[in-house]
């Protein structure tokens, strides 16, 4: 059964998944919740369980250890949901692309289990909070 993704636009609840990031992108994501950027204005809320989430904020190259976890988290997320690949590593493995532990990037792993997944990319090392907000808004506006 295909559910409409439209209602997510007005209240995207996000769950943060770290798949081997250096913590730089994670800090920028936490910045979004601070008074300076305050994404609660748009109804964006950080939730503690993938079951509540409408969007997964994935940071980091997907390491061999993190890949099964990422697949599991994606399966556990209530559909319809959007995946955001945050940062250069998540978008295309970045400077780690020759690393022995890298099996990513994020879109490859997600598409293995769901070819129709909605994936949005926010590049940058790390992306500025403004860039993340702009990416989220652009992605939600075409839903």
């Amino acid at each position: 059964m295909a559910l409409s993704a439209k209602p997510i636009k007005k209240s995207p609840w996000v769950f943060h998944v770290n798949t081997g990031a250096c913590n730089n992108c994670d800090i920028e994501i936490v910045d979004l919740l601070t008074p300076r950027f305050d994404v609660e204005r748009f109804g964006i809320k950080l939730v503690g369980s993938p079951r509540h989430a409408d969007a997964l904020l994935v940071t980091g190259v997907v390491t061999a250890q993190a890949a099964p976890r990422l697949r599991e988290v994606y399966r556990q997320t209530a559909k319809p949901c959007v995946v955001f690949a945050i940062g250069a590593c998540a978008c295309g493995t970045g400077i780690f692309h020759t690393g022995y532990h890298v099996v990513g990037p994020v879109d490859k792993i997600i598409k293995e289990i769901d070819p129709n997944a909605i994936i949005a990319y926010v590049p940058g090392c790390p992306p500025k909070p403004e860039a993340i907000i702009s990416g989220v808004v652009k992605a939600l506006s075409i839903l």
């Binding site: 559910l3 008074p35 609660e40 109804g43 503690g48 079951r51 509540h52 559909k79 319809p80």
Partner: protein, 314 residues
Amino acid sequence: MTSEMQILFWILLFPGFVFTAGLGLFASWLVRKVSALVQYRVGPPVLQPLRDIRKLLSKEVLIPEQANKWVFIGAPLVGLAGVLLLSTLLGVSAFWPREIFVGDIIVAIYLMVLPSLALILGSSASASPHAAVGTAREMKLVMGYELPLVLAFIVVIIKSGGALGLSAIAEHTPVASISGAVAFFVSLLCIHAKIGYVPFDMAEAETELGSGVLMEYSGGLLALWNLTSAMMLVALPMFLVQVFLGGFGTTPAGIATGLLKYVGVLVLIILIKNTNPRVRIDQAMRFFWIWCGLALVAAIALATVGNIYGIGWL
């Protein structure tokens, strides 16, 4: 005389579902907005809680493989039914006093436990280890705050001359005395724990348990839980207004002051929420049983002495 239509009107429209859910969603927006203002943020728009519910209703409902399906699905309905009945009972006894006997303070105490019990049932049926930790904490918390809450209502009953009916109690203002004020502040904290806000949110504890008791709920079932907690934000402060602060009255001026009292209680709850860190469950138990318990035993003694010697302010 009350017909079936009147009862349906009460339950579905005015003091019941539509009114309580609407006011509750507004109150939960107020909580988020004031919290944002306290933190120098802008905060969400007014319709945000409604949009959240609408979005959750349109999402997929996941039921864990090992969960007890019927308990898992039934628990939110029981919780919602409990709070709906509680708010109807309070509303009818506030706005139609003397017209019909719908229940007294003891019925209200029982109905107030129902959402917490449903939460415990639902989360323990979900077969998730995180939810299990949350369930254990919620159970201890319920045991913790029920004792001082009942003791506080004993003070109220003594102060209002042994009356048990809600409309009769609302004719007195126990808070205008020492024992009544102590009982009011303790029951405010108990109500706070019942709604599950910081500092007593250890059952949900997003940062350590990943939303604990609600962890496995998604989609429409989560929407029911959110609606239940929004309606609790109306029913429980209303109950305090009715029991401690002299209720609403039936004149327009009385209803207006009653609403002001309700907003005052809500603001107190929001301020407590925003100025305290989460406590551990053992600290909460000790706080409720020992400190609140002792304070209320003293309050009951004061109220009894005041009652015997006819001293109103004790």
